[in-house]
């Protein structure tokens, strides 16, 4: 099956944003975040993206931010994709973690402005994606 989308929660300056329920982690299919923007100025990029991962499986599990497409002879925005995947550990002791920002030059997919995320087998919990402006 196709990857499951993680919808964005936008954090707004000088405003309270209720804690979102989060999206259930889809380990089987992987997940993605769509950062497409057609506005001027452009919307937030992955540098302004933060992932909150809350795990419930009771053991450390890895979360992998998949490398993007680009660089060398490959057309795409991720000219630093050669660095490869970013494999992180969501610790059971803290109940998860916060990831980000993420480097667009490394992780952006070819043409769809998406970030792909995979999870280690056995992980359960929720994930929430936040974006906000880095500067006012």
């Amino acid at each position: 099956m196709a990857r499951t989308q993680i919808l964005l929660t936008t954090l707004t300056r000088n405003v309270m944003t209720d804690i979102p329920a989060g999206t259930a982690i889809d380990q089987a299919n992987g997940m993605y975040i769509d950062l497409t923007s057609t506005s001027i100025p452009a919307g937030p990029g992955s540098e302004n993206l933060t992932l909150e991962i809350r795990t419930t499986n009771g053991a450390d599990k890895t979360v992998t931010i998949k490398t993007g497409v680009g660089g060398s002879v490959n057309y795409g925005p991720a000219f630093r994709s050669g660095i490869g995947d970013l494999v992180l550990t969501a610790h059971a002791a803290s109940g998860g973690g916060v990831v980000g920002g993420l480097e667009s030059a490394r992780f952006m997919q070819a043409t769809n402005n998406q970030i792909y995320i995979d999870f280690q087998s056995g992980i359960t919990g929720t994930i929430t994606a936040f974006v906000g402006k880095g500067h006012q």
Binding site: L11, M16, D18, E52, I65, A90, G100, E103, G134, Q136
Partner: protein, 132 residues
């Protein structure tokens, strides 16, 4: 008593930060978040990248107030006043921010936060990482 100091956790680019346990809200004295006073845009730690995560396990909504800044040097828009926001108990809390440096910086660059109630309420401060 003086305000309780609340330190912030800096998120790291391309990395994971363990979820902090949070600090109990101090409604009696209020809290103070020390942020270095900066004079240049894009400084490493700045209020416009500060995020507050406030949990509310009470059976009623709470109010969190981010105090308007003082002093024309640090807070040119301090006259805009306090920012009072509602922390929903049904949502279990919320995120406040980013915040506006020109409105909330105290003379020493820090931020003052007050609470209507400390019942089952914790707060965590995060600093968004500097952009590449």
């Amino acid at each position: 008593m003086s305000r309780t100091t609340l330190s912030y956790t800096i998120w790291t680019e391309n990395n994971v930060t363990n979820l902090p346990s949070g600090t109990n809200a101090d409604a009696s004295n209020g809290m103070n978040i020390p942020v270095p006073k900066v004079s240049t845009p894009g400084a490493t730690d700045a209020i416009d990248r500060l995020m507050l995560y406030v949990s509310n396990g009470d059976s009623a909504d709470h109010t969190v107030t981010v105090r308007g800044g003082t002093g024309t040097a640090a807070s040119t828009r301090g006259g805009t006043g306090d920012l009072a926001v509602t922390v929903s108990h049904t949502a279990g809390g919320g995120w406040i921010g980013p915040l506006e440096t020109n409105r909330f910086a105290q003379n020493d660059g820090s931020v003052n936060v007050d609470f209507s109630s400390a019942t089952s309420s914790q707060i965590t401060a995060y600093m968004w990482p500097t952009r590449w």
